[in-house]
């Protein structure tokens, strides 16, 4: 296993875990207006960190595989720029919803729902780019063009995206402790998992017992919540993180449908330097995040 690729996979898993949870927030806002305070309580302090992790992953990818960037840029320039544009909208509507004054004609819920919709679209775009890069669907052999028609007409691509979103819907009940129609949680999660695993398998990606174990664990989280009404957010975070990272490791080195990621690796000098920066920066980041978590859990001081 290559250290640089492993670091990149870990970052990708963190990014998708955070985005997945944001996707769940987006679903919750639209689905149940009463979930708003609960969702905002989680989302308000962390939205800035999520965005930074996206940048971290993008820059890390550039550091590790600079030679791959021209192909990615040329093929995915439209969806990448579109997602970026929507990212501004995500931040704007989220922060506006937080600070909107009471007598405004735009309610907090309305702004939050627009945020949700935008976030939802961003997640679909990013999932599409991810699955296209890993499976090669939609790309041409010279890696100079991307066919949207080919991509969208592949039923397994749609299955992958729909499956992921169904899992997100199912787990959103757990993460935000939504009571309304909570029987949907295990149904959505299990159906989503089946669709997800079937689709990635049909897309030529590796699936093995680890996938099934993680799938079962995720399903159990939903079932447990439905049965007992109890849930811990950490379990969702860990399960999603492990799922994303396992998909990457099961398809190690795969890019554009073939095993060629190592051929794009940067020269040793920059890679070595990047490891130093990652270790030093990573330690600082871990310390800062632990401090953040500590403060997050600390009760409010009486004013």
């Amino acid at each position: 296993m290559n250290t640089y690729i492993t670091i990149n996979y870990v970052l990708l898993a963190i990014v998708f875990t955070f985005l997945f949870v944001e996707g769940m927030s987006a679903i919750s806002f639209i689905y149940d207006r009463k979930s708003l305070p609960n969702v905002k309580k989680y989302l308000d302090p962390v939205w800035g960190i999520v965005g930074t992790f996206v940048v971290f992953f993008v820059v890390n990818t550039e550091v590790i595989y600079p030679a791959i960037m021209p192909s990615i840029d040329y093929m995915y320039v439209f969806p990448i720029l579109l997602a970026t544009l929507l990212f501004i909208g995500r931040n704007v509507f989220l922060i506006f919803s937080e600070y909107i004054w009471k007598d405004s004609k735009f309610s907090q819920l309305m702004l939050a729902r627009i945020y949700s919709l935008i976030t939802f679209i961003i997640i679909i775009i990013l999932l599409s780019i991810f699955i296209s890069i890993i499976s090669g669907v939609g790309t041409n052999s010279t890696l100079t063009g991307f066919s949207t028609t080919v991509f969208l007409s592949n039923p397994y691509i749609l299955g992958f995206i729909a499956g992921t979103l169904l899992i997100a819907l199912g787990l959103s009940f757990v993460f935000y402790k939504i009571e309304k129609m909570k029987f949907l949680s295990p149904i959505s999660t299990i159906f989503g998992l089946l669709l997800f695993v079937f689709s990635i398998n049909r897309l030529g990606l590796n699936v093995n017992y680890i996938t099934y174990v993680l799938g079962a664990a995720i399903a159990l989280i939903s079932i447990f919540y439905y049965a007992t009404g109890k849930a811990r957010r950490e379990t969702v975070f860990i399960a999603v993180f492990l799922s994303v990272i396992s998909i990457n490791f099961l398809n190690y080195g795969k890019v554009f449908g073939v095993d060629s990621l190592t051929s794009y690796l940067n020269n040793s000098a920059v890679s070595y330097a990047s490891i130093l920066v990652t270790v030093v920066g990573g330690l600082l980041l871990t310390a800062m995040l632990l401090f953040f978590l500590y403060m997050y859990r600390l009760p409010n001081k009486e004013q």
Binding site: D44, P45, L85, F87, V270, Q303
Partner: protein
């Protein structure tokens, strides 16, 4: 048919032009906020605490837009200039990577600072967060400027070998942290950014001082004093480091220097060309001051200007748009020096209103009479001076953009000076056009909307309530 290279450059330029305005706010607000909170803790003055809280709320809103805008610029850098980013990735990407951690520092501590304000028992610990936020914001600027310095004076790989084979060898990834222009550029960029940001806020506070009364006016006066102090320090540093930048330009980017000066001469007694245009390789409508360029460059009117500081030493195909950069450069110098002089006068008037200093002068009859003139009254109570400060705020924004255009257009046609041209680096995929246009329109809406939103949020707050004063 759209020229895609020009479109990419236009889109990138436009996005950066908007982004740097947000950066100035994002870099300056934490500094003002931090000073305000420190004063509030040290001297136990509630009004400074309210100021810090209000600025923190404004900061988080600007941060939301600024951070997203930063992502837009970063992604544009990747997707619009794939060949440039490929070279950068193999040689000089480290500062960009380090910037991520500076960005994390700002984002994480800002989250804790704002959302967990009430969880802190120790106020000084809470204040320390604001210091880290300010450090994170400034360091982001430092690291990004390192990339720009690399574009101006590339280092860290075998350039002659790359030019002949397009292959990168002999890489030193740390060289990008210390190119010949890195530190002077950092000083000038950070100084000018903080100057512009504090000038915006000073202009806003000055406007509020003209419009408010009572406690609210007292509040804005305190805020204006902090902003004014930062403006004065920043403009002095910026002017000094600006002069250093020009010296570095003469040595390391002589062609760019020659274009900025619109200089076709070398040897002793070279004239400084002010204004004017280049028509058929001849300077027209300019004011030429004999020997001044020699004097500015060497300290002597008969000092020798080297031949490589003249445009005649270079092929015309590698000249930047000379008329444009020469005039933006002259405008930048003129406005910068003018603001510098005004702020020094402002500082003198301000100091003369400090009681201890004023009392010393009052014993002298001449000074006593002089100080009784309106112009020497408290500058924060003088409507004329307040109006001048508003104008300076507007000029600061112009100056910032003007300086940035001078730097970037002055490097044309190169994206990496003498290594890679802009056209060689550009992404010529037509897919860029529709989403590029959308980004342009989106920015047009988002920036004013954000400013109006922040203004409205602040307006809705009741100062007396925040100070717990009964009306």
């Amino acid at each position: 048919m759209v020229n895609l290279v020009l479109f990419d450059a236009g889109l990138m330029g436009y996005s950066l032009a908007v982004h740097i305005l947000l950066v100035t706010v994002g870099m300056t607000l934490p500094i003002i906020m931090s000073i305000a909170e420190f004063v509030s803790i040290k001297y136990k003055v509630k009004i400074y605490d309210v100021l810090a809280k209000r600025l923190a709320n404004a900061l988080i809103i600007f941060f939301a837009v600024g951070t997203a805008s930063g992502v837009v610029v970063a992604i544009e850098l990747f997707v619009l200039w794939p060949k440039f980013i490929s070279v950068l990735g193999q040689v000089g990407i480290l500062p960009l990577y380090m910037e991520v951690f500076a960005f994390f520092t700002e984002a994480i501590f800002l989250g804790i600072y704002i959302y967990f304000w009430n969880k802190f028992k120790s106020r000084i610990r809470h204040w320390l967060l604001s210091v880290f936020i300010a450090i994170g914001a400034v360091m982001s600027g430092v690291f990004i400027t390192m990339i720009n310095a690399f574009m101006n004076t590339p280092k860290g790989f075998n350039i002659p070998y790359y030019l002949s084979t397009s292959k990168i060898i002999d890489v030193n990834p740390f060289a990008v942290l210390n190119t010949p222009t890195t530190w002077v550029e950092i000083g000038h960029v950070i100084g000018s950014t903080i100057f512009a940001g504090s000038a915006f806020f000073l202009a806003y506070f000055a406007y509020k001082l003209l419009k408010t009364k009572g406690t609210e006016r007292e509040y804005y006066k305190k805020a204006a004093k902090i902003a004014a102090a930062i403006v004065i320090i920043a403009i002095i540093l910026t002017v000094i480091l600006g002069i250093e930048s020009i010296t570095a330009l003469m040595v390391y980017q002589p062609e760019k220097f020659a274009a900025l000066e619109m200089n076709f001469n070398s040897g002793p007694h070279v004239a400084e060309v002010l204004g004017g245009f280049l028509v058929n390789n001849k300077t027209v409508d300019s004011i030429n001051i004999a020997g001044l360029m020699s004097f500015l460059a060497t300290g002597k009117f008969n000092g020798v200007i080297a031949s490589n500081d003249s445009l005649l030493s270079y092929a015309k195909s590698t000249w930047p748009p000379v008329s444009v950069v020469h005039n933006t450069f002259d405008t930048m110098v003129a406005i910068g020096v003018l603001i510098g002089i005004i702020m020094v006068i402002f500082l003198i008037i301000w100091l003369l209103n400090v009681n201890k200093i004023r009392n010393k002068f009052k014993s002298n009859k001449f000074f006593s009479k002089l100080l009784s003139r309106k112009i020497f009254s408290d500058p924060f109570d003088n409507p004329l001076i307040l109006k001048v400060l508003i104008v300076i705020g507007v000029l600061a924004a112009f100056l910032l953009e003007d300086g940035w255009v001078t730097d970037e257009v002055g490097r044309q046609p190169w994206i990496i000076y003498n290594v890679m041209t802009v056209s060689a680096a550009a992404n010529t995929s037509p897919s860029v056009i529709p989403v590029g246009i959308a980004i342009i329109f989106f920015y047009i809406l988002v920036l004013p909307a954000t400013v109006l939103f922040v203004r409205r949020v602040m307006k809705k707050r009741d100062l007396n309530k925040e100070l717990r004063i009964k009306p």
